[in-house]
């Protein structure tokens, strides 16, 4: 059984289509990230799942039952807000207890759950403080705790780390994942940060202007992007349009691009003559063979060096671990055939 099933979901606001025809299944215990640039509809989708927005079309099921018409207060989801949304006049304990009081849980159960969560989140010493006496990281944990005490079927995160500084972010990332696993929660996590999405998720849902661009594991999404958008949004990519020249040897196809001819390994023959291909800057090998390229700019990044290159009528980026190439130098670039991907969208 799926934990969440989204079927044919469309949401329009006064003629503006925020989400169109979204289908998604999430397995129990799975951590799924909704990733995309701002305005892609990821927060709208989260609000529809939590019940704050009603879909224009389509249905949502949680553990098999249709919850499309159920308001957020009766939906078994718990939301962690970007702003934390802690009640400022209530202590940490009262904040954690709030949802349980609404459920009219007996006092002993309440105390037990709050104690359990406060220990797991290392909040035991802060229980009688007000939220504004806590650091950002602590407030973030209270907000997570307030969702966890509800023991929801689904936990939803709305960019929970965007108000934390970079160092704390990495730490909380790991913590959120650990707790999600410990409690066996199904999680949907909204972010615009691709490294967060790649690091945390079981699967990433890449959204672009209200449509699902690609749903895959982080590895597949990175190594086998299906569209130009996916290739560009996740990591860096060199994308070219080109003409298929023909099969060089079995499974090896030559494609002519403005930057030169690339040989790619393909299982099936390309559809049509015009194609779009991409490869990652770190997969290019600088050596004795391959395309001749002139270095336009060199940027040392610490663990690699970023080279902007020009070849023929095309430009691309190359990342080398160690290189002596300088601006103006001519180098030779070879991209292994199995590192080149054909994109599905038409050039």
């Amino acid at each position: 059984m799926t934990a969440i099933r989204i079927q044919g979901l469309t949401k329009t606001f006064d003629g503006f289509t925020a989400l169109s025809d979204i289908d998604l299944d999430v397995a129990p215990g799975e951590f799924v990230t909704l990733l995309g640039p701002s305005g892609c509809g990821k927060t709208t989708l989260l609000k529809v799942i939590s019940g704050f927005l009603e879909p224009t079309e389509g249905k949502i099921f949680i553990e098999g039952s249709d919850v499309t018409a159920i308001p957020p207060e009766r939906r078994d989801t718990a939301l962690c807000f970007q702003s934390y949304a802690l009640f400022p006049h209530l202590t940490v304990r009262q904040n954690l207890e709030f949802g349980l009081r609404q459920k009219k849980l007996p006092r002993s159960d309440r105390d037990e759950r709050v104690k359990d969560v406060s220990q797991k989140l290392d909040l035991a010493a802060q229980m009688d403080k007000l939220p504004n006496q806590l650091s950002g990281g602590q407030q973030q944990r209270v907000s997570l705790g307030r969702a966890l005490v509800m023991r929801p079927k689904v936990i939803l995160f709305d960019e929970p780390l965007s108000n934390l500084d970079a160092k704390l972010r990495d730490q909380v990332r790991i913590e959120i994942r650990r707790i999600q696993r410990d409690y066996g929660l199904t999680a949907i996590y909204v972010t615009h940060d691709q490294s967060e999405a790649l690091a945390m998720s079981d699967r990433v849902v890449l959204l672009n202007s209200g449509r699902i661009e690609q749903v895959d594991t982080p590895e597949t999404l990175y190594h086998r992007p299906r569209t130009r958008f996916a290739a560009d949004f996740i990591g860096n990519s060199n994308v070219f349009t080109g003409q298929v020249l023909g099969e060089d040897s079995p499974g090896r196809w030559n494609i002519e691009t403005p930057a030169g001819i690339f040989t790619c390994a393909l299982e099936d023959a390309p559809h049509g003559k015009e194609v779009a291909l991409c490869w990652r800057p770190e997969h290019a090998v600088i050596g004795e063979t391959g395309i001749e390229a002139r270095v336009l700019n060199r940027a040392f990044q610490g663990h690699f060096t970023d080279l902007a290159c020009a070849a023929g009528n095309g430009e691309f980026r190359v990342q080398a671990l160690e290189t002596t190439a300088r601006e103006g130098d001519v180098i030779r670039i070879h991209v292994p055939p199995d590192r080149i991907r054909l994109l599905e969208d038409r050039p």
Binding site: S50, F52, P71, P72, E73, R74, T77, A78, L79, F81, S83, Y84, A85, L86, F87, P88, H89, L90, F98, G99, Q102, K103, L130, P131, N132, G136, Q139, R146, M150, N163
Partner: protein, 275 residues
């Protein structure tokens, strides 16, 4: 003279002016209220020659002061509550619902304040007469005070409703709160200072209002200002007027101090997270 010294001198000057501004009228009112009828306070004396509480006792026992105070202090809190009740729905709409022309509506709500009080009073009372409300004079004054204080009440409550954070409402909802619980946890803490401010300001407005209370009330209903104005009129006795004006102003000063404290203490609880 350095810039710092100049700043300091100007600050002291300002404080002195403010002090004089407050101290002289107050001091004079207090002194005049203490003038004993046995010997008048003539212009050649710095202080009254004989001082006693005779005027205070006399006003308390031999005028309609007791009745007037009872009326004023029943009228003002009721007007404050009524005005708050009338203003809240409008303020909710202006503060929390997006609709075309909202800014214009906010401005229109403040517009009555530019009309001089007496002008409003004359025409508003004629309206009440036409509605037949004048048959219950106290009720008519109460209604008029509540309505005329609406611009203040709506303005303050609108700002308060704008302060309520949508994420708090949503969080309460997400955690299963009923509409009442949502109001208590998300709305009330943000609204509380505004509610107190509204109550106090309408209270003070009503306590000090003369024109409407006079037109609608006289001669049956006497409030402190109508009593004061009559003491300023044909039978003007300065010491008696001083007693009345002090009685009028002292509760207001106390209320202002309470208000100040409330507004100060209420602010930090509004801040949370990135705020």
């Amino acid at each position: 003279m350095t810039r710092e010294q100049l700043n300091k001198a100007l600050l002291i000057l300002l404080l002195v002016i403010c002090t004089i501004w407050l101290v002289i009228p107050f001091g004079m009112a207090i002194l005049w209220s203490l003038v004993d009828p046995s010997e008048p306070w003539t212009a050649d004396r710095l202080l009254p020659p004989a001082m006693s509480f005779w005027r205070w006792r006399d006003m308390w026992e031999n005028s309609s002061l007791q009745v007037a105070m009872a009326t004023s202090y029943t009228l003002a809190p009721l007007a404050a509550l009524l005005s708050l009740a009338l203003a809240t729905p409008t303020a909710y709409a202006l503060g929390r619902i997006a609709f075309p022309g909202r800014e214009l509506a906010k401005l229109l709500c403040l517009l009555p304040l530019v009309v001089p009080g007496f002008v409003t009073a004359i025409f508003f009372t004629s309206l009440l007469f036409q509605l037949g409300l004048h048959t219950w004079r106290f009720g008519a004054i109460l209604f008029a005070h509540a309505v005329l204080a609406l611009p203040y009440a709506i303005r303050i409550m609108t700002v308060s409703f704008e302060q309520v954070r949508q994420d708090h409402i949503d969080a309460a909802r997400d955690l299963g709160a009923t509409p009442l619980a949502r109001f208590r946890v998300a709305f009330l803490p943000a609204l509380r200072p505004g509610i107190f401010a509204t109550l106090l300001i309408v209270f003070i407005q009503s306590i000090e209002e003369f024109a409407i209370a006079f037109i609608l009330g006289s001669p049956d209903v006497v409030t402190i200002p109508t009593l004061l104005f009559s003491a300023l009129g044909q039978d003007y006795v300065r010491p008696n007027a001083a007693v009345l004006s002090l009685i009028l102003v002292v509760p207001n000063v106390i209320l202002m101090l309470i208000l100040e404290r409330l507004l100060k203490s209420a602010n930090p609880t509004l801040a949370s997270g990135k705020g």
